[in-house]
């Protein structure tokens, strides 16, 4: 039984390790285009975690929007900027000042320490009882294939206002991007 539990938790650890290593590689890789492609590995690892969490639609959207869409747009913009001379001495510019690196390590490890302390100190079992998740989790197998319709139902009923606001936001972004990238901006 112990062995079975270990095996079933293996995919989580593998995917988490992949995405953390790829995220670190993105930050430390001196070549910007390679850093962008390393980011794809991180996003695909996170998409695998979404599959483990029964969020199939979110996982597919993650691959489509993040791993393909956003990263490809960033990589194309990097190529447009043709930072040839910067690509050579970016290593020294990333690690130039010791004080900067020390500050960054200090701040981020402090944030991680505080977050993990808060996570450990919560009683999640009690919260799960409070929300009724314990009762519902026996029903999850029944509605396993109904997640997608549930998301659509939420988006068009309870969350109709944010849904419409997002569409307005995307329209504004479309217009704004065209306006910003016009040659003769007056």
């Amino acid at each position: 039984m112990q062995f079975l539990a270990t095996i079933s938790s293996l995919p989580f650890y593998i995917l988490a390790t992949i995405s953390i290593i790829c995220a670190l590689g993105m930050i430390l890789n001196p070549n910007l285009v390679r850093a962008g492609f390393t980011l794809i590995g991180s996003f695909i690892g996170i998409a695998g975690l979404y599959f483990l969490l029964n969020a199939n639609f979110v996982a597919v959207s993650q691959v489509l929007i993040y791993a393909v869409g956003i990263v490809l747009v960033i990589v194309f913009a990097v190529m447009l900027c043709s930072l040839k001379e910067e690509a050579h001495n970016i290593k020294e510019s990333v690690f130039s000042s010791k004080a900067r690196v020390t500050f960054a390590v200090l701040i981020s490890s402090l944030v991680f320490a505080v977050l993990s302390f808060v996570i450990r100190s919560q009683d999640w079992q009690a919260i799960a009882k409070l929300t009724g998740a314990e009762r519902q989790s026996s029903l999850v197998q029944l509605v396993d294939d109904k997640y997608l319709s549930q998301i659509g139902f939420l988006m068009l009923n309870k969350y109709i206002l944010p849904f419409e606001l997002v569409s307005v936001l995307l329209l504004i972004v479309l217009v704004g991007t065209i306006l910003l990238s016009k040659k003769d901006i007056k």
């Binding site: 670190l24 850093a35 944030v111 999640w124 998740a133 990238s181």
Partner: protein, 103 residues
């Protein structure tokens, strides 16, 4: 030991700290954008994990993670067009050189 909500939350906290580290350490504006994407992804993992473990019937967290994705796409589009505009004007995208663009 089975994988519980705490595992997912700790993983997401770790990923968020890595994104914050990249945000603070990098001087290239493109790398700053990529670090922000990592941080947004960490938040998304939280949403989906809460939806799975605490709210398995009405999966509100998944709907929210889709909203976050749409806003991340919008942020990247505007950010990149601003960066290209700055690059066209001053031929570099070092974060320290933006300090003169204050008002």
């Amino acid at each position: 030991m089975t994988v519980t909500l705490v595992h997912y939350l700790t993983f997401s906290a770790l990923l968020f700290s890595i994104g914050l580290f990249g945000l603070l350490i990098s001087r290239n504006a493109f790398r700053v954008l990529m670090s922000i994407e990592i941080m947004l992804n960490a938040v998304n993992i939280n949403f989906v994990a809460f939806a799975h473990f605490l709210d398995p019937l009405a999966v509100k967290g998944q709907a929210f993670s889709l909203f976050v994705m749409a806003i991340a796409a919008a942020e990247v589009a505007i950010g990149l067009s601003l960066l290209l505009l700055i690059y066209r004007n001053r031929m570099n995208i070092d974060m320290d050189s933006f300090a003169t663009i204050k008002w």
